[in-house]
Subunit: 284 residues, 2 copies
Amino acid sequence: MNKILIFGVGLIGGSIALSLKKTGLTSSIIGVGRNQDNLNDAIKLKIIDHTSQDLDKNIAEANIIIIATPVAQIPSILKIIQPYLSSHTIITDVGSTKTDVIESAREILGQQYSQFIGGHPIAGSEKHGAMAAHSDLFKNKNVILTPDQHSSLRAKEMITTLWKNAGAKVSYMSHIDHDKIFSTISHLPHLLAFSLVDMITQRSNANELLQYAASGFKDFTRIAASSPEMWKDIIFANKKFILEDIKYFENQMELINDAIKHEDEKKILALFKNASKTRNEWSQ
Amino acid sequence: MNKILIFGVGLIGGSIALSLKKTGLTSSIIGVGRNQDNLNDAIKLKIIDHTSQDLDKNIAEANIIIIATPVAQIPSILKIIQPYLSSHTIITDVGSTKTDVIESAREILGQQYSQFIGGHPIAGSEKHGAMAAHSDLFKNKNVILTPDQHSSLRAKEMITTLWKNAGAKVSYMSHIDHDKIFSTISHLPHLLAFSLVDMITQRSNANELLQYAASGFKDFTRIAASSPEMWKDIIFANKKFILEDIKYFENQMELINDAIKHEDEKKILALFKNASKTRNEWSQ
């Protein structure tokens, strides 16, 4: 009988709960969160069975604890968990950066860090909250787990099973590789999109610019509509790799700038061809 | 009775033809193009009535000539048209840059430049060719016309009517304002998207990076799948403003780089909030 405790019953936490219910792997799911209306929604929608009345007891009795809050809250939740953590309980998270989470978990959980497996489901949407949760959110999506030499094999297996049952494709890598990869393919693009939209608002004719912006701009800047707080936290949590990638990108833009300035049409065409071919051949 | 001659019966040229047919404003549409298969498709689909058998005569008899070829071909087409151009004929184009087109038209058409109105429909898609054309492509889309003090009022009115009948929202601005605006909201984003994808392909773990890229990357880089040739031409045609915008963007990235380096979370949060608010409030 699996008792699951979920901190943060939003889109991700709620969807994990629904996928667990669908596979019948759990006897009871308890949700913890700051927003009582959202928790009430989650109970009404049968995403969770209860909210927590006695948190210390719920922590001690849980088989799996899932931390699905914004990543900045993970250390304080680990501190709440730590004093009551039983030796059989496995903990995981769903944060978009992993080095900061793993370092907190090592520090706060000490010897019991072996019970923690860092995780990052590559799924999401602009929608928020329990109302947006659905059991198929992770179907065929990548989930990255970052176990290391201190992790227990049982913890790794339990969290792998949890995600495979949700239909996800599970990969393992180090927390450093994870943060380096996602700096380039996710954090940098977000930064560029936020940056372009902010630059446009600084122009005296910003409204005119936005009036004529069309479908290309719409897609390119969709990620600039993301949560500013969440993305500020991600950027600072992944500071080292983001700064490296900004530098790479600035060098790339300087090469392009010089090629345009010196009418090097061949160079620009080769670069556009390479990008266009890669993007056309890529499928998610 | 309106005789229309269209150079380039692709997505844009074909869709103009279909919108003209729908409103019954034209008696005959003649299509000219390099690709005979595409022209045959256009006849089969009743987009055009004929291909041109006697181009000199068709030019002389046309009421409106629409140049809907890639922008780099416009000067040579103007040179084909010029010797046979009647004083009653109005010419327009659909190029994504306007200064280069207007300068060519002034030079090649001389006194008859008054019969030319530069145009840019802000509509398109990844699809190409006559097969992709449809009469509603321009419905509620912006079309920018760039008449100036040398343009005849009749020419301006005829091309305005043509686009209004296609359901478009017509605006007028100088060719310089046009190129400045589209540098920022369209050409720069394309350059950034091409640039990011090319940068990723240079990494030794490019395949791994692309494997974990998800929906945010997908939208951000969609425009990097665009035609390399067309975008190379646009970038060089709009060189001056593109170089200015690259400079602005590099300055913006340097500010962001410094704020991250110096842990100025307040500054990054303010920038993200501004961008996110603007993007959320924007509707196309």
